[in-house]
Subunit: 393 residues, 2 copies
């Protein structure tokens, strides 16, 4: 048996651990009396177009064709539709053969990392980061190198980024809109990333790729999130429809390897090979066909914005230090004691469930997922108030 | 970039290569004039219960719940239904927590292999074998050791199996009903495998697991295929609904770790860990719920049997050497010249597409996938006759 895998299976992520705790409390106190902000599970339904599309396919399409294998890259129709939508929305050249359909963002990442990395290669990530990055980078045999962003806005520390890239660096992995901070990039910052990666690629005489993990791309509330291939040609985009179409369980996403990428055809081939080696035969066929007509749609994101405004205003008014998130559906709240674990444990006594930031590679914060019912946020406000009172004593 | 992955992506499997060739011929000559027996893609529709189930879910279930994440192991309801069906059909104890839902058979295999193997461990496979086994074993960092079966019936060579197992052997991987030969095991053979693995586990003081890859379990035409956990307690079953429910594109299957297995909880944990490390967050949620009510159903398998009888009788009458398959939907035909490649190339001139056995790890045969329309088999018979005539000259 592989001991590492057993350990990984036995140590569920902190998020899942809280999820299990939450189930117990809800059973005891009733669903409505536990303020569970631990899970990034979309709380608004998929747009009607998705379910209409599924019903139409079931009624009209031949069963053997509908449920049969697609090509390993994915059905040509959905890849065309996605490529067209990228061209229209971002003005970047994109063709069906630049798109590889995946079983969601996690698969996009494991496949991209395995395609790019040889054992011992380094991948730079910005902290705080999605905890599974560590697992996925290790699966590719690579080594993670962490660069901290700068509080309170969690901006990129460009000097630190520059000095973290060395001759072993194969890729820099970024995630904007960010989980857990909600930060998005400005166009200036996007350009600066591109400039650094261009100069570092020259310095080390090999391409340093940018992997842009963008499951929250459409979830922005003030400015749009820059599309990184417009700012750095050697960008590979890892996408998922989990959040934009509220389909996290369906496992449907894609990898976009722009033709502008250095060695783009070889990288695309390596992506096909990596997917194949891990047993990804094709992305679920019904869901591939279903989203073909929905690539311009999103769930009703205004509901998240309503939550964001209510929650941000309420918490800051109480004295919490919170960075106003530009995207995603998370608030990143500073622990009044400076200790993330203490803050989250104390919050539990008020039936508030948050994820301590240690899981995301930095200390002193808690992540609140506000993809929940508005009423739950309203109802939780007195609990947050009481919690803050304790710190003020 | 990972050169191995790029090479893997660029060298599509032989089966896919023929598939592409087939597309070109069909465009040129018309669909009905190319006898394409290369792909194991079910040709009969999913049972009505599957599409009814999907429609019902779309109409009645809350969208957020339906398309949301399930637990990583899979929805409790579907795992219960599967466990119950195993108990009822095979008399083996099975609980929901022994089942781990996967994105199909390939994922079942890559996850099981990664959970069991440490780098350098050996996995014994029986030739002929499904070509991707080599890729999946390598992905787990393990080494494949091949044991040939014995023509014409492709029975297991038990002496060879015994001597192939050594102190490095972690598992023996079998596949009955078999792709590509259609062979199934007798109860005696199943018992003998169990006896050998028991004695070898004792000899080397560690458990040698049996991985039973069973996507064709329900596709049997004479006797049923023995359920291996009844014959060897340290069996892990890798299953897929691709063939039994004609859903290959939907990527839905499971791993069954019986509680009788040595270290079953640790192995189950390692399976969770291995799935997590490769980015398998959960199996597609809609499809998990959809099959919950269909675990006793199959597509109309009698259609395959009709094809089998027609094709087997016709080919043997012409003088081809074919082993009568007990299961799956393949005929394994001996090359009249002894050379598989020559046979398949010559057949192409008659617009007959078959897969040479070299891809499956043995020489001198061709695989015919008879999961096609009955009419196509009828229409292909003169072409097979003409092909045989050439060898008789």
């Amino acid at each position: 048996m592989n001991g590492k895998m057993a350990a990984l299976g036995k140590s569920p992520s902190k998020i899942r651990e809280i999820f299990e705790y939450s189930r117990g409390r809800k059973a005891l106190l009733g669903e409505e009396n536990v303020f569970d902000f631990s899970l990034g599970n979309p709380s608004i339904p998929a747009p009607d177009s998705v379910n209409k599309s599924i019903k139409m396919l079931i009624e009209e399409r031949d069963s053997v064709a509908l449920h049969g294998y697609t090509s390993a890259q994915g059905d040509l129709g959905v890849r065309k539709a996605i490529a067209e939508s990228i061209e229209k929305r971002f003005g970047t050249a994109a063709a069906a053969d630049d798109i590889y359909m995946t079983c969601g963002a996690a698969a996009s990442l494991t496949i991209t990392l395995k395609a790019l990395c040889e054992p011992g290669d380094e991948v730079v990530v910005l902290a705080p980061f999605f905890p599974e990055y560590s697992v996925f980078i290790e699966n590719a045999g690579a080594v993670k190198r962490v660069v901290n962003t700068v509080a309170p806005d969690f901006n990129i520390d460009f000097d630190a980024l520059e000095s973290a890239i060395n001759e072993k660096t194969v890729a820099v992995l970024i995630n904007f809109p960010n989980n857990p901070t909600g930060a998005i990039l400005s166009a200036d910052e996007a350009k600066k990333i591109g400039d650094i990666l261009t100069s570092k690629s020259e310095e080390f005489s090999h391409t340093v790729y940018l992997i842009s993990d963008e499951p929250y791309r459409e979830l922005t509330y003030e400015a749009a999130s820059p599309f990184m291939p417009c700012f750095y040609s050697n960008t590979i985009v890892d996408y998922s429809f989990s959040k934009s179409l509220s389909l996290p369980g369906e496992r449907i996403g894609y990898i976009f390897v722009p033709s502008s990428c250095e060695n783009s055809r070889d990288i695309y081939a390596a992506i096909c090979g990596a997917g194949r080696s891990m047993g990804y035969v094709c992305a679920p066929s019904l869901m591939q066909y279903a989203i073909t007509n929905c690539v311009y749609d999103t769930s009703d994101i205004s509901a998240y914005n309503k939550n964001r405004v209510l929650f941000y205003n309420a918490l800051t008014k109480m004295g919490y230090t919170v960075t106003k998130p530009g995207g995603a559906f998370y608030l990143f709240v500073k622990s009044p004691s400076g200790d993330a674990g203490e803050f989250c444990e104390r919050a539990k006594k008020h039936e508030i469930l948050m994820v301590p930031s240690d899981s995301f590679g930095i200390k002193g914060y808690a992540r609140i997922a506000y993809c929940v019912k508005y009423e739950m946020i309203e109802k939780s406000i007195p609990a947050f108030k009481a919690l803050m009172e304790e710190y003020k004593k």
